[in-house]
Amino acid sequence: MPTVHFTDTAGTVRDIEGNVGDSVMETAVRNGVPGIVAECGGSLSCATCHVFVRDDDFAALPPMEDMEDEMLYGTAVDREDNSRLSCQLRLHEGQELHVTTPETQV
């Protein structure tokens, strides 16, 4: 099973097992991980599922599309080079993904 390791701004880590094909956002929300809001439910409309991805994991992710790139300019906490919207990250078998959630999403 893929596992996502969520670290919040206080440094608390939550390790959540996800399902192959689910997004990182869904995995977080369904299990009540604080720090991911995802108002629009994953339709790339709200930019409230912003995460910072650990650099080595980031390099392995599929590239983002233009819409995600534009949406990231509107996040509550400013984007950085390792920013992604977690609704666009689909889990695959055996994946270990390390992400940090921003201080706020709205």
Partner: protein, 419 residues
Amino acid sequence: MAGKETDLLIVGASQSGVQLAISLRALGFEGHIKLLGDEDHRPYQRPALSKEFLQGTVESESLIFRSNDYWDEHNVTLVKGARIVRVEKGADGSGVAHAASGESFAFKRLALTVGARARHMDVPGGDLAGVVYLRNADDALNLKRIAPEATDVVVVGGGFIGLEAASSMHKMGKRVTVLEYGPRLVGRAVGTDTSEYFLDAHRGRGIDIRLNARIARLVDSGEGAVSGVELEEGTVVPAQIVLIGIGVIPNTELAEQMGLAVENGVVVDSNALASDGTTVAVGDVANMPNPLPGAPAGERIRLESVNNAIEHAKVAAYSLMGRREDYAGIPWFWSNQADLKLQIAGLSLGYDSTVVRRDDERGKFSVLYYRGGQVIAVDCVNTPLDFMAVKSALAKGQNIPAGAAADPAVALKSITTDA
């Protein structure tokens, strides 16, 4: 027997009902919460029903708000299939809610998050097989079930749901006709510039859209199923599916039975409290003071959106904890129709001028709405940067001067000023 009394009974396992439970736990509410839904599903998200779920690109499991474990861990009891038909309530806020099944639920405090239902069209042939509505998961499942047999679909109503469903059905290979009663699309939610843009965009993508359409009757195939829609001028548009999306009606029956003030929804104050001072009403069903900063005093509004369900639920959660907190944030809305991603920030209510930013080469379009020179809202199609810039400016009480905004090459963020 009413069973064990719950500390908070939330009637309606909706976006707002779910958010109310979540927000209360986040605020440290320790009492037991019971969340009642009248459907036979775990609480789920509705927006995808007309889009990704209908098209089959997301599974039903993805629509579920929270895992069962989450609810267990947070001491929230979910009850499915409980349709409350009557509430007895005392002055202290406690009472008993009675379900249609005969089951009853005792509570210390009550929240109404009962939402709205699809408005039914009164038309000859309206009960033929193949005439459907789209509000609930069961509606969407039914539409998915009958869709493969149909080649022609008529959508009645050119609002968000109608156009989303029309786009989905078109993508699924159907010949789609949209019949809109009014003179333009989405007339209730966007201005004329945006209506025109969507009209051209949908027609250009192959959807037949007819404005000012007057329906005479739905035609019977001879076997009790719909075969077409006859217009008053005599033509018949073929259809094996007629999807009606002509708006919703707030579910105010319980509030009325309880004697609460009702007027286009359950009337609530700025703390989401109904007229009895103890029951909270939240989301689509609530008629509240306009929460926008700078809105005219006394102006009331009922918003049908995910964002409002969430933000209003937060206000109600504070209220149930004995705290008064203002509605935070700027109302926003979205609608995905084919490759058109519409995002709206703010409320254009009462605008006196607009600025259109349009770049057809890149498929980008946005309209800023102004009242007395101050930007109050924006409609954006495939322009998230504009959406984000206006939403942020509104939240900070800033302005984006109309003159400079007219050039689509200029980034709105760069011309934002402190009002």
